[in-house]
Symmetry: D2
Subunit: 150 residues, 4 copies
């Protein structure tokens, strides 16, 4: 197996609640976690809906960013703090009035940079609602000579 987890789904969930209390009201939940891949769902409530009943772009961005942050964290552990440096998102179709499901997959996990792609779908639908690619800068580890900063 290429990727090796450093945290369990339960640990990742608990950490998300601790450091991102603001996403709790968005109803994010870790549904599945395996080497190189995570599934995070978002309950659809009123706040994240635009007029017309669809999920807003910024809400989809938040879900994509959160899912990819968590998949990195799950592999490097919470000692390190990854920072989003780039996120590119394509909005593909109108989401339904259902929970939104993000599947984030590691494309690369380097010492300094990690790259993921993220697929967003309405629950139980095959059609993509959005697709994103994100890059995170990983700070030098504690035990390494902390010379550089992005």
């Amino acid at each position: 197996m290429k990727y090796k987890l450093a945290m369990s789904a339960t640990e990742v969930s608990a950490y998300m609640d601790e450091v991102f209390p603001q996403v709790r009201h968005l109803g994010f939940a870790v549904e599945n976690l395996g080497p190189g891949e995570i599934t995070v769902s978002m309950k659809i409530g009123n706040e994240s809906l635009r007029p017309g009943g669809t999920v807003s772009g910024p809400t989809m961005f938040t879900l994509a960013d959160c899912a990819s942050y968590l998949i990195i964290l799950a592999h490097i552990g919470k000692v390190a703090l990854a920072v989003t440096t780039n996120l590119n998102i394509n909005f593909l179709s109108k989401p339904g009035q259902k929970d939104l499901i993000a599947t984030a997959r590691l494309l690369k996990l380097g010492k300094r940079l990690a790259v993921c792609d993220i697929e967003l779908r309405s629950r139980d639908e095959e059609q993509l609602v959005a697709h994103a690619t994100a890059t995170y800068s990983i700070p030098p580890r504690n035990d390494a000579p902390a010379a550089s900063s992005a």
Copy 2:
């Protein structure tokens, strides 16, 4: 002058309050509007701050998306409804605990697609906090044969 406004700053502001009531609590305001360029500010309050006192990535995404939506709207008028199809954002430096200022500029205003870039800075600072490029799909006008949809 290459670009010609279809709405005034006041009209754009009023329309933003009407269709995006959810951004009102984020404290967005149109500060300046001219042909091809708009400046939108965001009041920094508690909700948009991450632990550590910095503005979150999703909040910056929201501001970038809003500013570029408004600059397109200001040129095509509110009859048409542009839809974000792509947004690419680079996070460059930590924003200060100050208002965030987005300057969106039209790179292209075609019949079917509009493209903008957006620079984000803390108020009165020269350094870029983030830079984004966004593409919007413009639906066929009412008076045109409405054959196609993206």
Copy 3:
């Protein structure tokens, strides 16, 4: 099946040779074509190599652009002419001195826009060399009222 082919692999290959004679010397070949997905390989020769023996970024861009153009063409037929409007590419690891293999997958095939993602690997390797996302504008069909242009 969601996607339906309009051309065979042989037809796509012949068309590529006809309209892109300049890619012939790059040694591009359609290896596989199915609904929603194409595999295109590139022979590694001297011209596309950088000092150090790796394939250059522009060469990888060319392969990604070509593969995604061909998968769209294979579904809409050669009557229409898709135009690249956006391409976002992440370079992930050094390619080996082997053929480069691109797998392009349709994420969306709308009337006006098509979106693909493309994975690049060295032949027989699992590790990603690069990952791209591309958007193409599809011109109005001949039989439709040709009102709009991007």
Copy 4:
């Protein structure tokens, strides 16, 4: 002045010829270099033209990548070797049958990452032909503890 040059335009040109002999036949030339900004032109010849007489997407990618590589090099010096990690390009309008001019501007020059945007125009035209944003990874300096690699 925020950015400080480490090389002159002449030194940058000479270095380009030395390490990228393959771009010489593309007719690239450094036209202007100042703190934070470079202008690179490309002679339009037969090879880079598509059927229909326009410059191909890959050729524009090559010019954008080259210009942004050179502006980083001009500031960090040739000791370090920056590597493209991400390039996002929007194609905006058909270029004329004229030289193509790229203006690359530093958006960020960090210890580990540099970000540029690049505007492409036909010579003496105001309209944008393409717009790109690129990120480069900067390897640890020789004098620093070379612990990390992207």
